[in-house]
């Protein structure tokens, strides 16, 4: 058998016209921590190419490990094959440079929470938006993974403000295929429509929520958590039993305390303080139980201790 002839394909096109790119064939993620890598993984699994940015090569390597761990978990649960994992990983690229986002039609900022303070600095995120505007085309969407009032502020210094939008993935709840889409004051209808299309592309349901502290998901969750902590203090029930009522009784996936441990207690305290500040209502004030855990640095799964105790792979120790 003779050797195959190998040539580039381009000259065999029928017309010279530039090829139509499918929208969202390549997206970017800034910050590939827990939430960033969850978003990247979802996109990869739906056939989208992903470029993610981290400040150092070491952090890039860590992000790859996180993505791979997420994929492995899917294989363990029968939801993915080795081969599909390989294909997914072939679609992802890590970088330290913004210019590698060139050609993306959508980039989402998911800068992680500060390890010490549990905050995401607005100034840092503004800088991300400005950097993104330099390398992206004016039509490209710039999004932020948000649960607080911030998208309008992040957009305010950009030249093309109408392309900014907030998204909230419930990445701490496994299998929760829903996105809260947050329109800022500047967000155009076109941007919103495109994001709805993106959500469908990654097989997620979506709801539109007005820019507000905590949106629907976080606001409801925090109130529930605060009330559950109240019950602990009153001695009405214990951690396991309260989660049992929620999981068995109401069909919640994890229960309120386990979800809190997944999210990180320090983040939760910050979010509550933010809501308390925004709404001024006592009910958002973090419960002393949460403050106590936070001060002890019992942040949850990642510290091996929160409401529950965990082993290294995040399983509850009995």
């Amino acid at each position: 058998m003779s050797q195959p002839i190998i040539e580039p394909i381009e000259k065999y096109g029928l017309s010279k016209r530039s090829r139509r790119r499918t929208l969202f064939s390549k997206i970017g993620v800034v910050g590939c921590g827990n939430e960033g890598s969850a978003i990247a993984t979802i996109a990869l699994l739906n056939g989208i190419e992903v470029v993610f940015l981290e400040p150092t090569e070491e952090k890039i390597a860590n992000a790859f490990t996180r993505i791979e761990r997420k994929l492995n978990k899917r294989i363990q649960n029968w939801g993915l094959t080795e081969n599909e994992k390989k294909i997914a990983l072939s679609r992802v690229q890590g970088t330290t440079k913004y210019k590698d986002f060139t050609g993306c039609d959508f980039v989402i900022e998911a800068v992680r929470y500060d390890d010490q303070t549990g905050e995401r600095h607005v100034e840092e995120r503004k800088e991300v938006f400005l950097q993104l505007e330099k390398v992206l085309s004016p039509q490209a969407i710039i999004a932020s993974n948000v649960s607080t009032v911030v998208i309008t502020e992040l957009a305010s210094e950009l030249q093309y403000k109408e392309r900014c939008i907030g998204l909230h993935f419930l990445s701490n709840v496994p299998g929760s295929n829903i996105i809260e889409i947050v329109r800022g004051l500047y967000t155009s209808d076109e941007t919103y429509e495109k994001i709805c299309q993106f959500a469908r592309l990654i097989n997620h349901q979506y709801v539109a929520v007005a820019e507000s502290a905590g949106l629907v998901s976080i606001r409801l969750f925090l109130i529930e958590l605060n009330e559950a902590c109240e019950m602990l203090m009153e001695g009405i029930s214990n951690v396991e039993d309260i989660d049992k009522v929620l999981t068995v009784g109401f069909g919640h996936r994890l229960g309120v305390f386990r979800t809190a441990d997944q999210m990180g207690i320090e983040k939760i305290v910050k979010l509550m303080e933010n809501l308390y500040q925004e709404y001024g209502n006592q009910k958002y004030k973090p419960s002393p139980v949460l403050l106590r855990l936070s001060r002890a640095k019992h942040f949850g799964v990642k510290k091996g201790k929160g409401f529950y105790e965990y082993d290294e792979s995040g399983n509850i120790l009995k």
Binding site: P4, I5, I9, Y12, G13, L14, R20, W78, T81, I87
Partner: protein
Amino acid sequence: MKILVLNCGSSSVKYRLLDLENNKVLGSGGVEKIGMKGSFLKHIRQDHQTVILEGEVLEHQTAIEYILGVLTSAKHGCIKSLEEIDAVGHRVVHGAEKFNSSVLITNEVIKKIEECIDIAPLHNPPNLAGISAISELLPTVPQVAVFDTAFHQTMPEYAFMYPIPYSLYTKYGIRRYGFHGTSHRYVSHRACEFLNMDYNRTKIITVHLGNGASITAIENGKSIDTSMGFTPLEGLMMGTRSGDVDLGIATFLMEKEMIGPSALSTLFNKHSGVLGVSGISSDMRDIETAIANGNERAKLALDMYEYRIKKYIGAYVASLNGVDLIVFTGGVGENQAGTRQNIMKGLTYLGVEIDEEANASARGKEALISSAGSKVKVAVIPTDEEFMIASDTMEIINEMKKQ
């Protein structure tokens, strides 16, 4: 008449350009990894030279554009201009109850195919993408849709219904549709031609063993039962699909392993079958190698695979009240003499008598593998769905011209 046959999958487009009157393949090949990194077009010229064209192919429309570009190129092509293409035949996976034969594609037909998306969410959309690409690129060329399910539309109601609440049939169209119809139709026809039997007066069991596997009972030219059902998961054990299992396993696992519907579907479709049991591979050649090396799980996988085929043949002999002809096809059916032999050894009660030599030497070519004295004829017929699609297309175009 030159006919282009297209088979659009979720990330691939396979094609073949045939000159039917002169019975020649002018060019064939496929585009793989559409929308992914490393996409390429592999073209096989008439002189059998392989040409690989590498580059970005983001969607089906672009893939088809490149296919047409290669076919008309001076360097590797086989036609001078696109006008030489008289018609395009498309493989369409699911025609539900709306189509019982191949049809000329019209706006109304497209609408009906779209309506089938609900029950074939993975397959029909790329088929439709291929149709719309051709409508745009070759607007005057007639197109024909050939359905995987159409041949089985002759199944009687008692064979296609599931014993579950009838309302689910009326509400969602849950019933057995069967797949691989084009292949079963082609090989059964071809076997009768090859053996000089009357297609319309013969009881045939066709055994299609490829990546997917299905088996069909054909009486007097009509499919009366087939092993695949509402989805291609039912029936025989396959490379990575389980085939028939107790549904109780699904509900049991959902609870035990805390998994949802999509993981469950991956488990039965991709982690099961020969791969799942052997833990080695879904490819029968790898399994045979492993067995030769003494691997017991590989042996078990093969035993199960063959046993389940034999069991289905037995069931269909009963459905047909006898059988005159058994036909093997598909990658495994055409090439694995050992598997064919093991299956036939268990059918001696029917009067099947194997010609061991003929069986051993039949690899990927048409052959009679039963002995002269065998009460039931057994044949190997390599499947050729593209030819069937092209020939249906020609028939419909000729019909159209007459009117």
